[in-house]
């Protein structure tokens, strides 16, 4: 199975008026990868994610998910095909409890209709039972059991990020796109998150992760894509990328720490 491409971007461009937010970006994510995307602020990382997950249509180029083109498909259909994501500015259902948030993640995996719900037939009962059971299991897995009935909007910032990942897991996706999952976390939380991502990766989830934290990317990803001003300036293993001239310029220009180095 290894080596099989699951998500592929072909010369993706996205222009906002005159602004070239993403310019001819190629990417090949293989099954089982932890694929890192880095780049300075405004490099186009989030925009690129939004194209992959169907929120934006690219100006040109193509996205293949399991070999099938998914541009022109709506986000909900892409989600159904097995792609989950989190958002840089956390998008939780704030007035729902943590467990209810997770339950929405099961939307695709259950088939209860309004009619089933009204007469409370077997389909409804089985679906609800499965959702609660597996939802609780996911909460345990991400260590949020004690918060199951807490309103998501009342959780601490770091925990909210975890709820969002848990919700994505409820989709049972093949691939998960994480947009700066460690933003706003303290070093301990970040470390726990890294371990967690590695664990779910071992379970078979392919992961694409945007992160500013270089240590995070360099120690976890097996492949890294570097964007700057919308363009791909480097791609390869963390070691290759670290030594790339252009990357060093892009990053030291911004005064960022490359991590691990000194």
């Amino acid at each position: 199975m290894m080596g099989e491409v699951i998500l592929e971007a072909k010369e993706i461009c996205k222009y906002f008026g005159g602004l070239k937010a993403v310019e001819k970006v190629d990417m090949q994510v293989e099954k089982g990868d932890i694929f890192g995307i880095i780049g300075p602020n405004g490099a186009g990382k989030t925009t690129f994610f939004n194209i992959c997950s169907g929120i934006y249509q690219p100006t040109s180029g193509d996205i293949l998910f399991n070999g099938e083109s998914i541009i022109n498909q709506r986000p909900e259909h892409i989600a159904k095909k097995g792609m989950a994501r989190t958002f840089q500015n956390i998008k939780l259902f704030k007035n729902m409890s943590v467990l209810e948030n997770i339950k929405i993640g099961f939307h695709n995996r259950t088939k209860t209709t309004m009619f089933d719900a009204i007469i409370r037939n077997k389909k409804y009962r089985v679906d609800e039972e499965v959702i609660v059971r597996e939802g609780i299991a996911i909460l345990e897995k991400v260590g949020l059991s004690e918060y199951r009935d807490t309103l998501a909007g009342n959780m601490a910032y770091g925990l909210q990020r975890r709820v969002e990942i848990a919700r994505a897991l409820a989709l049972d996706p093949q691939i998960i796109l994480l947009d700066e999952p460690a933003a706003g976390m303290n070093p301990m939380e970040t470390h726990a998150l890294m371990t967690f991502i590695q664990n779910i990766n071992k379970e078979g989830y392919t992961i694409v992760v945007i992160e500013h934290d270089m240590k995070f990317i360099m120690s976890m990803a097996n492949k890294v894509l570097v964007l700057n001003f919308g363009q791909k300036i480097a791609e390869g293993t963390p070691e290759q990328v670290k030594q790339d001239e252009e990357v060093i310029v892009a990053y030291f220009g911004k005064g960022l720490d490359l991590g691990g180095g000194h």
């Binding site: 989030t46 939004n50 997950s53 958002f87 998008k91 939780l92 259902f93 729902m96 939307h107 309004m114």
Partner: protein, 365 residues
């Protein structure tokens, strides 16, 4: 627990703010306690309430009081169905009177022209309203907030104007008269004391069915759209489909209420379904509490009581409504029954957890 913690950091500024939050807490005590008791003994309390409601006409012994009761029940279905749209899926419909109109006219036309009996027409009128609800949902799927509100408002007026001018079918300005009363096993149901049971039946059915829908995958999908549409879509919720279904569901019950209303009044005319009527229904939802099942019911009771009390001064009734809505917005924006920590409760800025090192948020929307 957590809401207490959060609220503690709101009022530390001024004396006046502390007083204000004290007033707010007053509501918290009463309604949240009632809710807690209710949750504990749901079944028994429901049974007792239904029993009391069933014998109520024998206790009241007054057609006048039963008339008020009928209106309260009918409006609780109207307000409740509007709440499914505005409170649960977060769409903004202010033209609910339009669906009410469709239901009433469908019943009246089929009953007077074709002699079809009342009971099947309840469902037929609901279905007609749902179809109209579907049609109105199509162009509005891409609209939100105030834009959607304006479309629903315009659509409600268009329906009224059609009813006013399509004389051959709707009776035009004369309206439709002599709408036959329903019969039940040979018994004609005409006065308020009897008709009460029809409204009661519909209201209970509405609450029971809606409660079930809301606690299912469908209801959760609606709420997720209210909370964050982009997130809902990223989790595979077909938001267009669920928004449409949501409009249809709300419209259906408004249609059913309309169908029950027409033969109750025995006469309908287009001026019964003006925008005022739409706002009237909306005010019940706001006063009672959006996004809660019993809120609109409480809102309907209160607004109808006010209507009765101020009947002698009909002109000033609107002033009372307005004052009440403003007071509610200040005191309990989530409505009387709204949970203390509901969406509509505290201003967003006061609810947000503190964000450390909040990253730049460009590009998500």
């Amino acid at each position: 627990m957590r809401t207490d913690e959060m609220r503690n950091d709101i009022p530390k500024t001024s004396f006046w703010r502390r007083q204000m939050s004290g007033v707010r807490d007053f509501g918290k005590g009463i309604f949240d306690k009632i809710k807690a008791i209710y949750e504990k003994r749901k079944l028994q309390i429901n049974l007792i309430i239904i029993l009391l409601l069933l014998v109520f006409p024998y206790l009241a012994r007054s057609n006048y009081i039963m008339g008020i009761a009928c209106r309260m029940l009918m409006y609780s279905v109207l307000a409740g169905s509007l709440n499914v749209i505005n409170g649960y899926s977060g769409q903004f419909n202010i033209g609910h009177a339009g669906f009410f109109l469709i239901g009433a006219y469908t019943e009246a036309i089929f009953a007077t022209q074709f002699g079809i009996s009342f009971w099947p027409l309840l469902a037929v009128s609901g279905a007609f309203a749902a179809i109209v609800g579907f049609l109105i949902s199509l162009p509005t799927l891409r609209l939100r907030g105030i834009y959607l509100a304006i479309v629903t408002l315009g659509f409600s007026e268009i329906l009224r104007v059609i009813a006013l001018n399509w004389s051959s079918v709707t009776g035009g300005a004369m309206g439709i008269k002599s709408i036959p009363s329903p019969t039940f096993f040979g018994m004609t149901i005409s006065n308020s004391s009897n008709y009460y049971y029809i409204f009661l039946f519909i209201a209970i059915l509405f609450l029971a069915v809606t409660g079930r829908v809301l606690k299912s995958r469908v209801g959760r999908a609606w709420i997720s759209i209210r909370e964050d549409e982009a997130a809902a879509r990223s989790l595979g919720v077909e938001t267009r489909f669920y928004k449409s279904i949501n409009f249809m569901y709300g419209a259906f019950w408004a249609g059913v209420a309309g169908a029950a209303f027409a033969p109750y009044y025995r006469f309908i005319a287009s001026d019964m379904f003006t925008l005022d009527e739409g706002f009237n229904i909306l005010s019940m939802v706001i006063i009672g509490g959006q996004g809660t099942l019993v809120g609109p019911l409480v809102g309907s009771i209160i607004v109808n009581l006010i209507t009765e009390v101020f009947r002698f001064a009909a002109r000033y009734r609107m002033v009372v409504y307005a004052t009440l809505i403003i007071v509610m917005m200040w005191w309990r924006p989530q409505g009387l029954v709204g949970a203390y920590d509901s969406v509509f409760a505290i201003k967003k800025s006061q609810r947000k957890p503190v964000r450390m090192a909040s990253a730049k948020e460009a590009g998500e929307e």
